[in-house]
Protein backbone atom coordinates (compact mmCIF):
# COMPACT_ATOMS: atom_id res chain seq x y z
CA UNK A 1 0.00 0.00 0.00
CA UNK A 2 1.23 3.49 -0.81
CA UNK A 3 2.33 5.54 2.22
CA UNK A 4 -0.39 8.18 2.04
CA UNK A 5 -3.02 5.47 1.92
CA UNK A 6 -1.63 4.04 5.15
CA UNK A 7 -1.76 7.45 6.82
CA UNK A 8 -5.32 7.99 5.65
CA UNK A 9 -6.35 4.60 6.98
CA UNK A 10 -4.72 5.35 10.33
CA UNK A 11 -6.54 8.69 10.50
CA UNK A 12 -9.87 7.08 9.71
CA UNK A 13 -9.37 4.47 12.39
CA UNK A 14 -8.35 7.13 14.92
CA UNK A 15 -11.32 9.26 13.92
CA UNK A 16 -13.69 6.36 14.37
CA UNK A 17 -12.14 5.52 17.74
CA UNK A 18 -12.47 9.11 18.92
CA UNK A 19 -16.08 9.29 17.76
CA UNK A 20 -16.80 5.98 19.45
CA UNK A 21 -15.25 7.18 22.68
CA UNK A 22 -17.15 10.45 22.49
CA UNK A 23 -20.42 8.60 21.94
CA UNK A 24 -19.65 6.31 24.89
CA UNK A 25 -18.84 9.21 27.23
CA UNK A 26 -21.88 11.15 26.10
CA UNK A 27 -24.23 8.30 26.85
CA UNK A 28 -22.51 7.07 29.99
CA UNK A 29 -24.86 6.84 32.91
CA UNK A 30 -23.90 8.13 36.34
CA UNK A 31 -22.23 5.45 38.46
CA UNK A 32 -24.49 3.05 40.30
CA UNK A 33 -23.57 3.98 43.86
CA UNK A 34 -24.54 0.51 45.05
CA UNK A 35 -21.43 -0.84 43.33
CA UNK A 36 -19.03 1.87 44.51
CA UNK A 37 -16.88 1.39 47.62
CA UNK A 38 -17.56 3.97 50.31
CA UNK A 39 -15.15 6.87 50.83
CA UNK A 40 -16.22 7.16 54.46
CA UNK A 41 -17.75 4.91 57.08
CA UNK A 42 -19.25 7.14 59.71
CA UNK A 43 -22.09 7.33 62.22
CA UNK A 44 -25.06 9.57 61.55
CA UNK A 45 -24.23 11.50 64.73
CA UNK A 46 -20.65 12.19 63.65
CA UNK A 47 -21.70 13.23 60.13
CA UNK A 48 -24.27 15.71 61.42
CA UNK A 49 -21.83 17.01 64.04
CA UNK A 50 -19.23 17.75 61.33
CA UNK A 51 -21.81 19.65 59.28
CA UNK A 52 -23.15 21.57 62.26
CA UNK A 53 -19.66 22.59 63.32
CA UNK A 54 -18.53 23.92 59.94
CA UNK A 55 -20.73 23.43 56.88
CA UNK A 56 -18.16 24.69 54.36
CA UNK A 57 -15.43 22.40 55.66
CA UNK A 58 -17.85 19.47 55.83
CA UNK A 59 -18.90 20.06 52.22
CA UNK A 60 -15.25 20.05 51.14
CA UNK A 61 -14.85 16.73 52.90
CA UNK A 62 -18.12 14.92 52.12
CA UNK A 63 -19.85 16.48 49.11
CA UNK A 64 -20.21 14.01 46.21
CA UNK A 65 -18.51 11.30 48.25
CA UNK A 66 -19.98 7.86 48.85
CA UNK A 67 -20.69 7.37 52.53
CA UNK A 68 -21.68 4.29 54.53
CA UNK A 69 -23.62 5.95 57.33
CA UNK A 70 -24.60 3.99 60.43
CA UNK A 71 -27.52 4.99 62.61
CA UNK A 72 -30.91 4.24 64.13
CA UNK A 73 -33.95 4.51 61.89
CA UNK A 74 -36.13 7.41 63.00
CA UNK A 75 -38.65 7.20 60.18
CA UNK A 76 -39.36 5.33 56.94
CA UNK A 77 -41.36 7.18 54.29
CA UNK A 78 -42.74 5.80 51.08
CA UNK A 79 -44.41 8.55 49.05
CA UNK A 80 -47.93 7.50 48.11
CA UNK A 81 -47.84 9.18 44.69
CA UNK A 82 -44.27 8.65 43.48
CA UNK A 83 -43.21 5.50 45.36
CA UNK A 84 -40.13 7.45 46.42
CA UNK A 85 -38.53 5.78 49.45
CA UNK A 86 -36.79 7.83 52.16
CA UNK A 87 -35.24 6.80 55.47
CA UNK A 88 -34.50 9.35 58.19
CA UNK A 89 -31.65 8.41 60.52
CA UNK A 90 -31.45 9.70 64.06
CA UNK A 91 -28.32 11.74 64.75
CA UNK A 92 -28.93 12.64 68.37
CA UNK A 93 -29.39 16.24 67.23
CA UNK A 94 -33.09 17.18 67.35
CA UNK A 95 -32.59 19.93 64.77
CA UNK A 96 -30.80 17.88 62.12
CA UNK A 97 -31.00 14.24 61.09
CA UNK A 98 -29.65 12.33 58.08
CA UNK A 99 -32.11 12.01 55.21
CA UNK A 100 -31.48 9.09 52.86
CA UNK A 101 -33.23 9.12 49.50
CA UNK A 102 -33.28 5.61 48.01
CA UNK A 103 -33.01 4.26 44.49
CA UNK A 104 -36.56 3.52 43.28
CA UNK A 105 -35.92 -0.20 43.00
CA UNK A 106 -34.58 -0.35 46.57
CA UNK A 107 -37.92 0.72 48.06
CA UNK A 108 -38.92 -2.86 48.81
CA UNK A 109 -35.81 -3.41 50.95
CA UNK A 110 -36.73 -0.64 53.35
CA UNK A 111 -40.46 -1.22 53.69
CA UNK A 112 -39.89 -3.63 56.57
CA UNK A 113 -37.46 -1.40 58.49
CA UNK A 114 -38.83 -0.66 61.94
CA UNK A 115 -38.01 2.64 63.67
CA UNK A 116 -35.22 2.09 66.19
CA UNK A 117 -33.43 -0.48 64.01
CA UNK A 118 -29.71 0.08 63.58
CA UNK A 119 -28.77 0.13 59.87
CA UNK A 120 -25.87 1.04 57.61
CA UNK A 121 -26.94 2.95 54.51
CA UNK A 122 -24.70 3.62 51.52
CA UNK A 123 -25.36 6.82 49.64
CA UNK A 124 -23.89 9.89 47.95
CA UNK A 125 -23.68 13.06 50.02
CA UNK A 126 -25.38 16.06 48.43
CA UNK A 127 -25.03 18.54 51.29
CA UNK A 128 -27.10 19.90 54.16
CA UNK A 129 -30.45 21.65 54.10
CA UNK A 130 -32.06 21.11 57.49
CA UNK A 131 -30.68 17.55 57.49
CA UNK A 132 -27.60 16.11 55.87
CA UNK A 133 -28.99 14.62 52.64
CA UNK A 134 -27.71 11.50 50.91
CA UNK A 135 -29.20 10.28 47.64
CA UNK A 136 -28.83 7.16 45.49
CA UNK A 137 -29.12 5.20 48.72
CA UNK A 138 -29.24 1.49 49.37
CA UNK A 139 -28.82 -0.70 52.43
CA UNK A 140 -25.07 -1.34 52.69
CA UNK A 141 -24.16 -4.98 52.38
Amino acid sequence: MKNWKKVLLALIVLGAAAAGYGYYMYNKKPADIRTVAANFEISAAALVADYTKDETAANLKYLDKVIDVKGKVAEVKIDSTTGQATVILDSGDPMAAVTCSFYNDEAASIKMLAPGTEVVIKGKCTGKLMDVVLNKCSIAK
Partner: protein, 183 residues
Protein backbone atom coordinates in the same frame (compact mmCIF):
# COMPACT_ATOMS: atom_id res chain seq x y z
CA UNK B 1 -56.61 28.81 92.26
CA UNK B 2 -56.96 25.27 90.98
CA UNK B 3 -60.07 26.20 89.01
CA UNK B 4 -58.23 29.03 87.28
CA UNK B 5 -55.37 26.76 86.29
CA UNK B 6 -57.83 24.14 85.04
CA UNK B 7 -59.75 26.63 82.96
CA UNK B 8 -56.54 28.20 81.66
CA UNK B 9 -55.17 24.79 80.63
CA UNK B 10 -58.44 23.93 78.93
CA UNK B 11 -58.33 27.23 77.03
CA UNK B 12 -54.76 26.64 75.87
CA UNK B 13 -55.55 23.10 74.77
CA UNK B 14 -58.66 24.14 72.84
CA UNK B 15 -56.72 27.00 71.28
CA UNK B 16 -53.86 24.80 70.11
CA UNK B 17 -56.18 22.26 68.55
CA UNK B 18 -57.71 24.99 66.40
CA UNK B 19 -54.41 26.71 65.75
CA UNK B 20 -53.09 26.36 62.23
CA UNK B 21 -50.05 24.19 61.90
CA UNK B 22 -46.68 23.91 60.23
CA UNK B 23 -46.59 21.46 57.29
CA UNK B 24 -43.35 19.95 56.12
CA UNK B 25 -41.60 17.35 53.97
CA UNK B 26 -37.98 16.30 53.40
CA UNK B 27 -38.67 14.16 50.36
CA UNK B 28 -40.40 16.49 47.95
CA UNK B 29 -39.81 16.03 44.22
CA UNK B 30 -38.66 18.92 42.07
CA UNK B 31 -37.78 18.23 38.44
CA UNK B 32 -36.87 20.33 35.46
CA UNK B 33 -36.86 20.06 31.68
CA UNK B 34 -34.43 22.19 29.71
CA UNK B 35 -34.20 20.31 26.45
CA UNK B 36 -34.93 21.24 22.86
CA UNK B 37 -35.97 19.35 19.74
CA UNK B 38 -32.32 18.34 19.38
CA UNK B 39 -31.89 16.95 22.84
CA UNK B 40 -33.73 15.73 25.90
CA UNK B 41 -32.50 17.29 29.10
CA UNK B 42 -34.30 16.47 32.29
CA UNK B 43 -33.38 15.87 35.87
CA UNK B 44 -35.16 15.14 39.11
CA UNK B 45 -34.40 15.99 42.73
CA UNK B 46 -36.17 13.67 45.18
CA UNK B 47 -34.98 15.24 48.42
CA UNK B 48 -36.49 18.70 48.31
CA UNK B 49 -37.48 20.27 51.61
CA UNK B 50 -40.77 22.13 51.72
CA UNK B 51 -42.08 23.87 54.78
CA UNK B 52 -45.05 26.17 55.19
CA UNK B 53 -47.11 27.76 57.91
CA UNK B 54 -50.84 27.35 57.31
CA UNK B 55 -51.58 30.30 59.59
CA UNK B 56 -49.42 32.93 57.85
CA UNK B 57 -49.05 31.37 54.37
CA UNK B 58 -45.27 31.67 54.60
CA UNK B 59 -43.73 28.96 52.48
CA UNK B 60 -40.21 27.85 51.64
CA UNK B 61 -38.78 25.30 49.20
CA UNK B 62 -35.12 24.31 49.51
CA UNK B 63 -33.06 21.97 47.34
CA UNK B 64 -29.47 20.88 47.11
CA UNK B 65 -28.30 21.37 43.52
CA UNK B 66 -26.11 18.28 43.74
CA UNK B 67 -29.24 16.27 44.46
CA UNK B 68 -30.47 16.48 40.86
CA UNK B 69 -30.32 13.08 39.19
CA UNK B 70 -29.63 12.81 35.48
CA UNK B 71 -29.58 9.89 33.03
CA UNK B 72 -26.27 11.07 31.60
CA UNK B 73 -23.16 11.42 33.73
CA UNK B 74 -21.74 14.04 31.35
CA UNK B 75 -24.85 16.19 31.53
CA UNK B 76 -24.78 16.03 35.33
CA UNK B 77 -21.14 17.07 35.37
CA UNK B 78 -21.74 20.05 33.05
CA UNK B 79 -24.82 21.04 34.99
CA UNK B 80 -22.96 21.15 38.30
CA UNK B 81 -19.56 22.40 37.20
CA UNK B 82 -20.35 24.78 34.33
CA UNK B 83 -23.94 25.96 34.61
CA UNK B 84 -25.00 25.91 38.23
CA UNK B 85 -21.48 26.04 39.77
CA UNK B 86 -22.88 23.98 42.61
CA UNK B 87 -19.64 23.97 44.61
CA UNK B 88 -20.05 27.72 44.93
CA UNK B 89 -23.84 27.76 45.20
CA UNK B 90 -24.91 24.43 46.70
CA UNK B 91 -28.55 25.35 47.34
CA UNK B 92 -31.52 26.78 45.49
CA UNK B 93 -34.19 28.31 47.69
CA UNK B 94 -37.62 29.84 47.16
CA UNK B 95 -38.98 31.90 50.05
CA UNK B 96 -42.43 33.37 49.71
CA UNK B 97 -46.02 33.53 50.71
CA UNK B 98 -49.29 32.00 49.61
CA UNK B 99 -51.11 35.15 48.54
CA UNK B 100 -54.65 33.77 48.41
CA UNK B 101 -54.51 32.04 51.78
CA UNK B 102 -58.06 33.06 52.60
CA UNK B 103 -59.32 30.84 49.74
CA UNK B 104 -57.64 27.74 51.17
CA UNK B 105 -59.14 25.74 54.01
CA UNK B 106 -56.56 23.37 55.46
CA UNK B 107 -59.21 21.86 57.69
CA UNK B 108 -61.35 20.76 54.74
CA UNK B 109 -60.34 18.10 52.22
CA UNK B 110 -60.25 19.33 48.66
CA UNK B 111 -58.13 20.79 45.88
CA UNK B 112 -57.48 24.51 45.95
CA UNK B 113 -55.80 26.82 43.45
CA UNK B 114 -52.96 28.67 45.10
CA UNK B 115 -50.91 31.70 44.12
CA UNK B 116 -47.46 32.00 45.57
CA UNK B 117 -45.24 35.05 45.44
CA UNK B 118 -41.70 35.42 46.69
CA UNK B 119 -37.98 35.37 46.09
CA UNK B 120 -36.20 32.69 44.09
CA UNK B 121 -32.51 32.31 44.91
CA UNK B 122 -30.56 30.35 42.27
CA UNK B 123 -26.87 30.49 41.39
CA UNK B 124 -26.32 33.38 43.80
CA UNK B 125 -28.99 35.55 42.17
CA UNK B 126 -32.22 36.54 43.95
CA UNK B 127 -35.26 37.37 41.86
CA UNK B 128 -38.91 38.06 42.65
CA UNK B 129 -41.35 35.67 41.05
CA UNK B 130 -44.93 34.49 41.15
CA UNK B 131 -46.40 31.09 40.37
CA UNK B 132 -49.71 29.30 40.53
CA UNK B 133 -50.21 25.78 41.69
CA UNK B 134 -52.62 23.48 43.44
CA UNK B 135 -52.89 22.59 47.08
CA UNK B 136 -54.67 19.30 47.76
CA UNK B 137 -55.74 18.75 51.35
CA UNK B 138 -56.44 15.18 52.52
CA UNK B 139 -56.64 15.08 56.27
CA UNK B 140 -53.16 15.79 57.61
CA UNK B 141 -51.55 15.55 54.17
CA UNK B 142 -51.15 18.56 51.93
CA UNK B 143 -49.95 17.88 48.39
CA UNK B 144 -48.48 20.88 46.60
CA UNK B 145 -48.14 20.79 42.82
CA UNK B 146 -46.82 23.55 40.61
CA UNK B 147 -45.43 24.08 37.14
CA UNK B 148 -43.57 27.21 36.19
CA UNK B 149 -40.73 28.47 34.02
CA UNK B 150 -37.36 29.86 34.98
CA UNK B 151 -35.22 31.80 32.50
CA UNK B 152 -31.53 30.82 32.72
CA UNK B 153 -30.33 34.33 31.92
CA UNK B 154 -32.25 35.74 34.90
CA UNK B 155 -29.92 33.83 37.21
CA UNK B 156 -26.68 34.40 35.31
CA UNK B 157 -26.67 30.81 34.10
CA UNK B 158 -24.60 30.94 30.96
CA UNK B 159 -25.21 28.58 28.10
CA UNK B 160 -22.12 28.35 25.87
CA UNK B 161 -22.81 29.13 22.23
CA UNK B 162 -21.59 25.66 21.27
CA UNK B 163 -24.60 24.04 22.91
CA UNK B 164 -27.13 26.84 22.70
CA UNK B 165 -29.32 24.91 20.26
CA UNK B 166 -29.41 21.90 22.55
CA UNK B 167 -30.33 23.65 25.78
CA UNK B 168 -33.53 25.61 26.21
CA UNK B 169 -33.24 29.21 27.38
CA UNK B 170 -36.06 28.58 29.82
CA UNK B 171 -36.31 25.60 32.13
CA UNK B 172 -39.69 24.13 32.98
CA UNK B 173 -39.85 23.33 36.68
CA UNK B 174 -42.30 20.85 38.17
CA UNK B 175 -42.93 20.70 41.91
CA UNK B 176 -44.57 17.77 43.69
CA UNK B 177 -44.35 17.98 47.49
CA UNK B 178 -46.39 15.84 49.84
CA UNK B 179 -46.37 17.64 53.18
CA UNK B 180 -47.55 16.45 56.57
CA UNK B 181 -48.04 18.26 59.83
CA UNK B 182 -44.78 18.79 61.69
CA UNK B 183 -45.18 17.19 65.09
Amino acid sequence: MKKIILIATACILINSSFAQKIYFTRSGTISFKAGTALEDIDAVNKSATCVFDAASGNIQFLILVKGFEFKSALLMEHFNENYMESNKYPKAVFTGKITNLDKINFQKDGTYQATVKGTMDIHGVKKEMEAIGTIKVSGENVLINADFAVAMADYNIEIPSVVKDKIAKTAKITVNCNNTIKK
